[in-house]
Amino acid sequence: MPLHGQLNRERVRTPSSPEYDEAETVRRAQLGSSTAFDQLVRSRGSELYRYLVVRLRNESDARDALQETMTAAWKALPGLRQPASFWPWLVSIAARKAIAIAHARIPVDERDLDLLVRTDESLLEVWDAVGRLPPIQRDVLILRYRLQLSERETAEALGVRVSTVKARSYEARQALKEQLT
């Protein structure tokens, strides 16, 4: 079933430059390289921001969460033991920040159209359909199929069991199929 997602995995995970070695960049950032950290933020920030927008559905909250995520990452980076697992580690920080921010606010039902670069009907339909999913399903869907985390990485990032990830992933896709057909 997730064939499409698997095919996209390398495309999404590998930043644009073929010479770019993320693990090496992480190592340099751990040693205090400011430039290396900048590079990590620039290469991963947009994807993370999109996840936070989908999760929180509010531009201001998403920006706050992104800032808090990167600040936490900067502070905790020296303690990251496996530079190669930087991306799932960063996503797990973002997921926790998103949960904390979502808990601390009253849900806003208004559509924030500034979040979308275009507002055609089909895009709004998908936006609304994803918005109707429970937060955990939204998280699993984005982490698995857009941020390309494995089931185990997704489970660790969200603090749930792998079986929960499988179940919520299936439910989310089924719900979207029904809503989009």
Binding site: S34, R42, G45, D64, I106, D114, L116
Partner: protein, 470 residues
């Protein structure tokens, strides 16, 4: 099977279109996020802090010798008079409670402006010359210890004077709460340029007013690039800084009561943010005043403003980002903008550093959390009795003489439910404001300032007759 594959493909395509239909921060915005993140100090890396018996035993041996040598020379060995391992807040007096493995020298006297109290902490042994000379009659700098400081060595020098004795100089000591945070320290090479030029030390300066005392911390690391472990070790000793010189007062109840209920519920998000605060004003050149300023919105493009309507109140000298005022906005008590700011909108318009103060990062509404606290005072949002009117596109500002504290009420209707979150020295929201009002009055109730901003770009400012254009 084909039907299922088609459905899956449809879901993936839908997610694709949504994903790439979402706006994303520009490279410039991401760089600003990275810059803001890097302001925070790094935490301890995975390896453990080196601590060990031999080092502790060596320190104890040195401490014993130093106690014998120094007891008649006008200083006390901190570990001999204050129990090690005790939290800083439980101590009485001025100085350091030594962290495990640290030695402390301190004068232990009452601070005066002429003779500050000095306390010095080191994570190793002091040089014999420094202990023999004693610190009361020296410059207060353990020069020999610093000259021989090993790469993993740390020396922290604390000087205490009574807050309020130095008029204009008091501006150098921002009010901070204990424990002081090393991350607030600034690199310090102005005096004495560099103690050890051939092998430069990492020199930092942190000034604060706490518990009625001005304290200046000079932190010296044995290397100009201290490791996170070394920094954290210094912070542990700073956590043990004792500033408790005021004797117990008969009016203790006035400082303790009434105690607010120990509610753990956070303020829920709301479309209306309404806070009343009492804020400390700054003493500058022997006088206290506030400055109210603002302008109407300009540069509207689509739904955003390049310069949203702004009203703000500051107190104290305009900062330049130097060691005493880490950011230009630190003298702000409150600011609010109305309308959605553009990504390029800044709260500071002049100077090369203005780009560092983007409105969507620093906040559309903010109150100074270090200089203000919530109060139950009643403040009416009205310009009655004040003079003023609509603001133009250029900034207008008025100075008003005040006492030590002013009461500020700020009320804003925001575009979506929001809370004020901590950011640097401020509590702020980045949610656009539709309409906002603020009032500043004295504690006695005399109204000084009224300001209003609207997302239409309109802004009004009214001030008391005693205020004058600045």
């Amino acid at each position: 099977m084909n039907r299922e594959n088609d459905d899956d493909r449809r879901v993936d395509d839908a997610l694709d279109s949504l994903w790439y239909g979402l706006s994303a921060p520009s490279e410039v915005e991401l760089q600003r996020i990275a810059d803001a993140a890097k302001v925070e100090p790094r935490s301890l890396p995975a390896q453990r802090v080196e601590r060990g018996g031999p080092r502790l035993a060596w320190a104890i041996a040195i401490a014993g010798i130093a106690l014998l040598v120094g007891s008649g020379l006008g200083f006390g060995l901190g570990s001999s008079v204050t129990p090690s391992g005790t939290a800083a807040g439980t101590g009485v007096g001025l100085g350091f409670l030594p962290a495990p493995g640290w030695d402390v020298l301190q004068t232990g006297a009452e601070a005066t402006q002429e003779r500050p109290v000095i306390a010095i902490a080191a994570n190793g042994a002091f040089a014999p010359e420094d202990t023999a000379r004693g610190i009361r009659n020296s410059s207060g700098l353990p020069y020999s210890t610093l000259m021989a400081l090993p790469q993993k060595g740390i020396v922290i020098v604390a000087r205490f004077t009574i807050s309020g004795q130095e008029l204009a100089a008091s501006q150098l000591y921002p009010t901070r709460s204990l424990p002081l945070r090393l991350r607030d320290a600034s690199p310090y090479t102005a005096f004495p340029v560099q103690v050890r030029p051939e092998r430069p030390l990492g020199q930092y300066l942190l000034r604060a007013t706490a518990n009625g005392q001005n304290v200046e911390l000079q932190i010296y690391f044995g290397t100009s690039r201290p490791s996170p472990a070394l920094i954290e070790s210094a912070q542990r000793q700073i956590d043990r800084l004792v500033i408790s010189s005021r004797k117990p007062s008969a009016t203790v109840n006035s400082r303790a009561l009434p105690l607010q209920p120990a509610s753990v519920r956070a303020t829920p998000p709301s479309r209306v943010l309404d806070r009343t605060l009492v804020c400390a004003t700054a003493l500058f050149a022997g006088a206290r005043d506030i400055e109210a300023k603002g302008h109407r919105g300009t540069g509207r493009s689509g739904g955003t403003w390049l310069r949203p309507a702004l009203a703000s109140v500051t107190s104290g000298p305009s900062a330049n980002g130097g060691p005493q005022n880490p950011t230009i906005l630190d003298n702000s008590l409150v600011w609010m903008t109305a309308g959605r700011p553009s990504a390029a909108s800044t709260l500071v318009e002049e100077g090369l550093l203005s780009d560092l103060y983007r409105t969507h990062i620093w906040g559309t509404l903010a109150v100074n959390a270090q200089r203000c606290r919530l109060t139950k005072a009643r403040v009416t949002l009205s310009p009655r009795g004040l003079q003023g009117g609509a603001l133009g596109p250029f900034e207008d500002s008025f100075s008003c003489a005040t006492s030590r504290r002013v009461v500020v009420r700020v009320r804003a209707v925001v575009a979506s439910a929001a809370v004020l979150r901590s950011f640097r020295a401020f509590a702020r929201t980045t949610v656009p404001i539709q309409e906002g009002e603020l009032v500043v009055q004295t504690e006695a109730g005399k109204r000084l300032v009224y300001a209003e901003v609207l997302d239409s770009g309109r802004a009004r400012l009214f001030t008391a007759g005693s205020c004058f254009p600045s």
